[in-house]
Symmetry: C2
Subunit: 152 residues, 2 copies
């Protein structure tokens, strides 16, 4: 495998997917995120709203806070956030305040994704790439809610 | 003083203003918040983005997380969030996920307040009261940015 291929969007999204899988196995809505700086993963997190009893504990929020802690800086201009599902308004708002340089997400969220409300929630300089490993990211969410429905 | 007057919106906003004043004195953007449940303050917080090196550490986020921790519940349907400044998209999004029943804020934020982007970021059942102790809430913010400007 060439070095270039290792540091692709698909490679880092795979790491976010591993986080989402951890969430799935814990009964959490399966969303995972990693923050990358200079091709290095500086934080990784999965949704923990149930585990932490905290509705704000989305994967992106935890990953942003951990990345800032790692760097000792509240701005993440040189960083890329990889997340399996389109960020909601809360997480997109957090990315604005942290001035995250780039956001790569897997599958859209047609109900609570930030783009449903207003794309300007994001920082004006943020670059967006959507649809990376979309099928796998979406399948995890679909399977999760399917399992919940058949239990009810 | 009558009991009713003690548990007024102005009373709880005063507590949020005390938090904002603490932020001001630490050199943080002076925003304060308290979460109230059955007329009892269950959490209070001030903006700590500088102190914690975390762009997500807005007063509302910290107050919501602390309130959920206190109650051992991620939903805050019976709670009211008092905050000195209109919540941004991030904090309004957090209030959606926590299903906060009521939000009372002091002064509007014409640049990054949630209503600039889309009022539906809030939970559909959330009640909103704006303009409580507006003058004091606004004065604190205005003074803060005035001090920064004259330093530059």
């Amino acid at each position: 495998m060439q070095k270039q291929a290792v540091f692709s969007d698909e490679y880092f999204m795979k790491q976010a997917l591993i986080q989402a899988q951890i969430a799935f196995e814990k009964g959490e809505v399966p969303v995972g995120a990693v923050v990358v700086c200079n091709n290095q993963i500086i934080s990784k997190a999965h949704n923990q709203t149930e585990t932490l009893n905290d509705a704000t504990a989305h994967a992106e929020m935890l990953a942003i806070t951990a990345a800032s802690d790692f760097l000792g800086a509240k701005y993440l201009k040189e960083c890329t956030l990889y997340v399996t599902v389109e960020p909601c308004a809360m997480c997109a708002g957090a990315s604005y305040w942290a001035q995250i340089g780039k956001i790569v997400y897997g599958t859209a969220d047609d109900k609570r994704g930030y783009s449903v409300f207003n794309k300007q929630i994001l920082h004006p300089k943020a670059k967006i790439t959507a649809g990376v490993s979309e099928h796998e990211c979406k399948a995890l969410i679909t399977n999760f809610f399917y399992k919940i429905r058949i239990k009810e």
